[in-house]
């Protein structure tokens, strides 16, 4: 302990949820036209028919369905952080369709989930995760986990 848990990017998800199940991706919603944005837009609404500048933080739906998925069998280049001394462990990427927002959001799957565990249309939920750790910080992120999979 002692290393600060730090979001890899500020304001994109609940930083310190009281309970893990309160964890959410955070977007913004235009006060004028209700358009929802993730990643968040804080200055200008991107609806071309709207000149809104009041954008309010809004949690995204915690669950969605797999739109597609893949994995990374080779080490990605920087700024992705990985230990070059260790053998590369593929990670899984999931694109998830959220019903209420009618949008697709990308994320890594929780560690241990492989492409063999996934199918298009499967229900998944967002959970807090760790992207990488260094001497000073534990960099936190969001992960997608199939509903019903063991934590």
């Amino acid at each position: 302990m002692g290393r600060a848990r730090t979001p890899v990017v500020a304001g994109w998800f609940t930083e310190e949820p009281e309970r893990p199940e309160d964890f959410r991706l955070l977007g913004t919603r235009c006060a004028d036209c209700s358009a929802v944005f993730f990643p968040r837009e804080d200055d200008f609404c991107r609806n071309p028919a709207c000149c809104g500048t009041r954008l309010l933080e809004v949690p995204l739906s915690p669950r969605g369905r797999v739109w597609s998925f893949t994995d990374g069998r080779y080490r990605p280049p920087a700024p992705y952080v990985s230990d070059p001394a260790r053998e590369w462990e593929p990670y899984t990427l999931v694109a998830v369709e959220l019903a209420a927002e009618r949008m697709v959001v990308l994320g890594q799957a929780v560690p241990g989930i492989t492409v063999a565990d996934l199918a298009v249309g499967m229900e998944v939920e967002v959970v807090p995760g760790v992207l990488n750790e260094d001497d000073e910080r534990v960099w936190t992120t969001w992960h997608w986990r199939p509903v019903g999979a063991r934590p």
């Binding site: 036209c33 944005f37 071309p48 990374g72 069998r73 694109a95 927002e101 990308l106 199918a119 249309g121």
Partner: protein
């Protein structure tokens, strides 16, 4: 074609054609030289092909590389200087994979405006090996930097998401994808400018390592050095200069429409379609009418999933081609060949549908029938495509036009499509860029 209407706001009415007087390329490969040298070689070949002296050029349009430090040494100026400063106007365009077509379009606009009569368009790159990666530094406001930092999502990862989606929605198979490679490798073997010039078998594709499931190494295009150049002119100049010019009748440079409902590089998410009615096209009714249509996902007996609230296809890629067709006054039925951006084998199939060669979901069938191979009804990527070239980003969209020019002139050697008269090129890049060019004779 109902998607034509999608593009009407962003494209103009038919305003005139420009002539292609010359085309030139530096062969693709890994040569270890600077991009300027490749570009000058291609430019000199294009000028020789046009029978015009460099000093006759009044506008140089460069397509920029993102490499090489100070933005690609500012491509247009780098080529103009290397060819010899002679006072011509200059411009440099950047639009990711569409950069080359944007340079063509800038030249076209100058010519049609009467601001230049002979324009030289050049794109060249000296690409690094391996995954494209963002420049160094910490840039939390740069989506391209963030997707690597947070997701490790390389370009092939996005291509793989599209491929898996096609497999789920349309029933495409890994064998279909491999067949694209087999087809393009066969064509590339007949192209002296291609980097890879040998036949590839489906077994070789299947034996190559998975890069991003379901895509294997031979499903994904490499990164290459290379250059391509065109000499363009006004109709008046061309008619005085040559008996049989080839014409560019359309260059589409449209952007997406909000909400952009297909996940694009380098984004983390699509736009939300809630609150707007995609059917209205422009989102003008977006005043608070949040729609909460439930996602419906079902799996049929073949394992094909019918999922999602949005049709996958009424998207940006289709609108790129639609704008080109509209501007050219032509349609898919008029094409004799197409050059499309096969960043992956699966993406080539997507393009068949997006440029209207077949209805959504039918691309693999078209491929299996042999319609898109050399000798087929509508050959796609007769150059060999990115599969045979590898990506040299700012050169690639220009190289597509070079292939069209050579085919329409009957100069394509063993890959010649007999009697070709109409060609379409198409590509898509990061950050909402794409382009499509129509070339006719």
């Amino acid at each position: 074609m109902d998607h034509l209407a999608l593009a009407s706001g962003g494209s103009a009415a038919v305003t005139g054609d420009v002539a292609v007087l010359g085309a030139g390329m530096h062969p693709w490969g890994k040569w270890g030289r600077g991009f300027t040298e490749y570009g000058v070689a291609a430019a000199r070949e294009a000028l020789a092909d046009a029978g015009l002296d460099w000093t006759r050029v009044t506008l140089v349009c460069g397509a920029q590389t993102v490499r090489g430090g100070y933005p690609g040494h500012v491509a247009g100026a780098a080529f103009a200087r290397a060819l010899g400063w002679q006072g011509a106007r200059v411009s440099s365009s950047y639009a990711a994979c569409a950069s080359g077509a944007q340079a063509v379009n800038t030249a076209r606009a100058h010519i049609l405006a009467g601001m230049a009569d002979v324009a030289l368009v050049v794109g060249a790159d000296a690409a690094p090996k391996g995954f494209f990666a963002p420049a160094g530094g910490e840039r939390a406001d740069d989506p391209d930097w963030l997707r690597f930092r947070i997701l490790g999502a390389t370009n092939p990862a996005y291509f793989a998401l599209y491929a898996r989606r096609r497999m789920a929605v349309h029933g495409d198979t890994a064998e279909d994808f491999a067949l694209v490679k087999v087809k393009n490798a066969a064509a590339g073997a007949a192209n002296p400018c291609a980097r890879y010039r040998r036949a590839v078998t489906a077994d070789e594709v299947a034996a190559s390592p998975v890069v991003a499931d379901p895509l294997r190494l031979l499903d994904i295009c490499a990164t290459s050095d290379g250059a391509a150049a065109l000499v363009l002119s006004s109709m008046e100049f061309a008619r005085r200069h040559t008996a049989h010019p080839v014409w560019i009748t359309a260059v589409s440079t449209v952007t997406p429409r909000f909400p952009q409902t297909v996940l694009e590089l380098p984004d983390f998410a699509t736009d939300s379609a809630a609150g707007t009615d995609p059917a209205a096209g422009t989102g003008k009714d977006g005043a608070g009418t949040v729609r909460t249509g439930a996602v419906q996902a079902g799996r049929d007996h073949a394992g094909t999933v019918h999922a999602g609230t949005e049709p996958d296809r009424a998207g940006f890629r289709a609108s790129i081609a639609a704008a080109a067709y509209e501007e050219a006054g032509a349609g898919p039925e008029d094409l004799d060949l197409a050059e499309v951006y096969d960043l992956s084998t699966a993406l080539e199939l997507q393009w068949y549908e997006d440029i209207g060669l077949c209805p959504p979901g039918d691309a693999a069938r078209l491929l299996r029938e042999g319609a898109t191979g050399l000798g087929g009804r509508i050959p796609v990527n007769p150059s060999g495509g990115l599969a045979s070239f590898g990506e040299a980003v700012p050169a690639q969209a220009i190289a597509q036009v070079c292939e069209a020019v050579r085919q329409l002139r009957g100069q394509a050697g063993d890959r010649q499509i007999e009697g070709a008269r109409v060609a379409l090129t198409a590509n898509q890049g990061l950050f909402g860029h794409g382009s499509s060019v129509v070339v006719v004779r």
